[in-house]
Amino acid sequence: MDFTLSEAALMRRQMLRMVAEQLMRPISRQFDEEEHTEPHDFFNAMWMASKSNKDATSIGADSKSDDEKGSGPKQPRESTLLAAVQIEELSWGDAGLYLSVPNPGLGGAAVNAVGTTEQKERFLKHFYDGEKPRWAAMAITEPHFGSDSKQVATTARRDGDEWVLNGTKIFCTSGYRALELSDGFIVAWATLDKSKGRPAIKSFIVPSGTPGVKVTKLEDKMGIRASDTAEITFEDARIPADNILGTEEILETGRAGFKGVMATFDATRPIVAASAIGVGRAALDFVKETLAGSGIEIRYEASPEEMTVLEHDVLQMEAQLQAARLLTWRACNMMDRGERNSREASMAKSKAGLAVTRVTQKAVEILGPMGYSRKHLLEKWMRDAKINDIFEGTQQINLLIVARSILGYTSKELN
């Protein structure tokens, strides 16, 4: 058992702390107030940094460099854990800007998980080439569903050596940047035949510039405003036949492709939890600093008689945050060891989303007029926090997954 961060983790955390303090915090308020403007300097700085350290921030890229560098005995993998540490730090800086970092994102993760060698070559291998930042994104949600992902109604019809896509996607993070601001791509779920349900749902790689694909709305959000959240419309959008994601085998066996992509959620759920924790920690750090500035120190062993409400509240916040963090690290450990971690990933995600929602709400309350004012970033962090309770699987969906797991129930038995 070990609760110390490795050298690699400490180094990255330190590096990203600098990014957070120097590149993110100074522009946080601006890109929160000026939603739909692009922080180009930030994009370029992060792009250049990512090119020289490919696995610095992206979930999708195959991050082998640190783990397998150097001589000596083989180091155990810790890439998921490292990602969690990094993402916590970046989100501590600014969660919206973290989501805006040009990288393969969830689209890249999907290609990495179930793509053919040729697809990985075509879409991932040269992702970081060139001076211009690039994004990839994942488009699943449609106006009539979010959690119930088998309700995909966007259609894909085969026509000669092309697929023709028709439909609408909403809530696509970085959809605009992937399709219109850069030479990127999205991975969109579409159905070959709605009457056949889940087995007919496939993923399709849609590059930027595809005719018939348009970003039709940029959402105005409560928080993470620096991140673009796009509505995308497909009107007879045509993509090459070999842009259907996955091998022939995956496509023929029906469920496997769907499952493969769902399995990426076991990796991404702890990552989103880590991001949430970063936001929560920003709030907690600010509360403690402010209290310390007024001479109030939190005593961990004060008796109930002596303990102030403030100390009690801060201790609760700290405990909830640490609980979420340890659940997240556990899920990361398991992923790194190649162990199935669906239950643990969902535990981490549901706990983190709710805990951080409450931690940030409480932080604003504790700091009263300071908390409520836009002179400080705290109110923004509360607005940024909430989405973590919702995207990448809502708290309720993740609780459902945990429940099925502990009860040994299928989705038919418990829904």
Binding site: M1, D2, F3, T4, L5, S6, A9, P76, E78, L81, Y300, E301, A302, S303, P304, E305, E306, L315, Q316, E318, A319, Q322, A323, A324, L326, L327, W329, R330, C332, N333, E344, M347, S350, K351, Q396, L399, L400, V402, A403, R404, I406, L407, Y409, E413, L414
Partner: protein, 360 residues
């Protein structure tokens, strides 16, 4: 590098002790609570398991691994069987641990072998005091130095095995305000053992109120200097037991919910119940992880004030929530003593209160 799991030895200990707790301790739990008696033959069997001897280093007759993390594994597994029986079976550590961590070589040589014999010998520690505003950081029990003696004065409550244990480790505040651990041998003048207490839970455990009135012990009977780290270790062990009791309640509720029919389905298939169980499972795991971190931090260098405080607070609250929900899932049946869930909730209420009773 972050690695949040037990090692192979600890895993084996977990499996062995869990099997014993489920097969032997659990079936005896209800009767023990009703009769306020821990069955002696069960304690003898627990002794055979060698858990106590395993916490004593070889040079003193044991076969020793006394780190806090392993202690939490044992404590959680035993409490999963029954809290009162676990507290009694592990009570020797109320004496062993302070001696091991704070005592001199002489004290270790004198006391530890006593707990490595072929029979169970109970242990005892006096931490809590009979007032609503008790806290370890403001003990009312005092220790005054007078010549070649310490003079102890005060009242303690919830002292397990006070009447049977050869020593009671009494926690008192010295004149400098430092919390000390003082070895008080059975029969010392000035040590008065009161009537056996009646408690809300852990009824099978024999606990006593004791009074120290001008109780004089040799200077050498103080174990080390500052005993706060010992009390933190105790909190960690207690929190582990909280996880064990909560886990028992969760698993029992899952079993019941999968069998019980209502509105055309098993109640486990209804979201209200399913979500309650999922939240219970998350809190059990979260408590355990926080407590492992606290135990591990203590083992590194006796550090961990923050980690221990967070884990203790969290695990106590979680155990109360989980055991309360354990009753709730069973509905009316949860209120009846035919099922163990009400016992677990009564037991769990103690975790926010005991403050170091389970010094394991």
């Amino acid at each position: 590098m972050i690695d949040i799991r037990l090692d192979e030895d600890q895993q084996l200990i977990l499996e062995t002790v869990t099997a014993f707790a489920r097969e032997k301790i659990r079936p005896a739990a209800r009767e023990a609570d009703e009769s306020s008696t821990v069955p002696a033959e069960l304690i003898a069997q627990a002794w055979e398991l060698g858990l106590i001897q395993a916490s004593i280093p070889e040079e003193f007759g044991g076969h020793g691994r006394s780190d806090s993390v392993t202690g939490t594994v044992v404590a959680e597994a035993m409490a999963d069987g029954d809290l009162a029986i676990a507290l009694h079976a592990l009570s020797p550590r109320l004496v062993i641990d302070p001696v091991l961590h704070l005592g001199s070589q002489e004290q270790k040589r004198e006391i530890l072998p006593r707990y490595c014999g072929d029979k169970f010998v109970p242990g005892s520690a006096a931490v809590m005091e009979p007032r609503w505003n008790f806290s370890v950081t403001s003990l009312a029990t005092t220790a005054r130095k007078q010549g070649t003696e310490w003079v102890l004065d005060g009242q303690k409550s919830y002292v397990p095995n006070a009447a049977e244990s050869p020593w009671i480790v009494v926690y008192a505040r010295d004149e400098a305000g430092v919390v000390g651990a003082f070895l008080v041998a059975h029969g010392t003048p000035g040590l008065e053992i009161g009537e056996r207490e009646k408690n809300m839970g852990t009824r099978a455990l024999e606990t006593y109120e004791i009074t120290l009135k001008d109780c004089r012990i040799p200077l050498s009977a103080r174990l080390g200097a500052d005993a706060m780290t010992m009390l933190r270790r105790a909190r960690v062990a207690q929190s582990a037991m909280a996880v064990g009791v909560a886990k028992a309640s969760l698993e029992y509720a899952i079993g019941y919910a999968k069998e019980r029919d209502a509105f055309g389905k098993k109640i486990a298939q209804k979201q209200a119940i399913a979500f309650m169980l999922a939240e219970m499972a998350i809190e059990v795991d979260a408590s355990r992880l926080l407590n492992w971190e606290a135990a591990w931090t203590l083992d590194q260098n006796d550090a961990g004030v923050r980690e221990v405080a967070l884990a203790h607070r969290y695990a106590s609250e979680a155990a109360m929530m989980v055991t309360d929900n354990g009753i709730q899932v069973l509905g009316g049946h949860g209120f009846i003593r035919d099922h163990p869930v009400e016992l677990w909730a009564r037991n769990a209420r103690g975790f926010a209160i005991f403050e170091g009773i389970a010094s394991l």
